[in-house]
């Protein structure tokens, strides 16, 4: 089980800010593929990988990163703070 968080328009497309996901995905990319296979709203959110960022346990990471030991995955658009 892993906590998956969504922010900004990713959250809006998926419809929830966070959820617990039962998965055996080995990488972030595998997890994204699993989610997209479930429902259209995930496909809408993950359609353009270039415009998405991912954090693993609150550290910026990449889609090919392994999920072993990770408790929290977050998906969001490029940041626009400041």
């Amino acid at each position: 089980m892993i906590d998956v968080l969504y922010f900004a328009w990713v959250r809006e497309r998926i419809g929830v800010p966070r959820e617990r996901v039962e998965t055996r995905a080995e990488t972030v990319a595998d997890l994204v593929a699993e989610l997209c296979a479930r429902e259209d709203r995930y496909q809408a959110a993950f359609a353009d990988r270039q415009s998405l960022r991912v954090a693993l346990d609150q550290e910026l990471s990449s889609f090919d990163a392994p999920l072993a030991g990770v408790r929290e995955v977050a998906f969001f658009p490029p940041m626009t703070g400041g």
């Binding site: 490029p78 940041m79 703070g81 400041g82």
Partner: protein, 146 residues
């Protein structure tokens, strides 16, 4: 060093004065304040979403890096989230250093990294709908200079 991530407004004058008063030994204090632009009157409000937990860690790590790179005597970052009106301060950074070049460079570095590496997302609420602010290629490119 102080980092504040908060929904409440802040008083930039009071923050700047307190920061400078605490900056004993520093000859140079730089502040940057980001304000909500009203886009020629079309903006009703700005909503800022963030990632509680990661936000504080990301900012602390950016401040640590600034302290490592420049001779600073102090640094401050305040960033708001939630709903803001036009012309309200969104965030500020302040740096204090013996020499102005360090204070300026560190403040610009903090801004460039906060823009693109701290997990905040801005949404502009206008009369004609709401829109997430798109990241600018120039902001990402700005990181390359450090």
């Amino acid at each position: 060093m102080r980092v504040a991530v908060q929904e409440a407004p802040f008083d930039l004058g009071a923050e700047a004065a307190a920061f400078a008063a605490g900056a004993r030994g520093a000859g140079a204090v730089v502040t940057f304040t980001g304000l909500v632009r009203d886009n020629g009157g079309r903006l009703a409000a700005m909503e800022i979403e963030h990632y509680p937990g990661m936000t504080e860690k990301a900012i602390a790590s950016i401040v640590d890096e600034a302290v490592r790179r420049w001779a600073l005597t102090d640094a401050l970052v305040i960033h708001r989230h939630g709903r803001l009106g036009a012309d309200e301060p969104i965030m500020m950074v302040a740096t204090a250093a013996p020499h102005r070049a360090d204070a300026f460079a560190a403040a610009e570095f903090l801004m460039d990294y906060l823009k693109s590496r701290a997990p905040f997302w801005k949404k502009e609420i206008g009369a004609d709908g709401a829109e997430w602010v798109a990241a600018k290629a120039t902001d990402e490119a700005a990181l390359g200079r450090w």
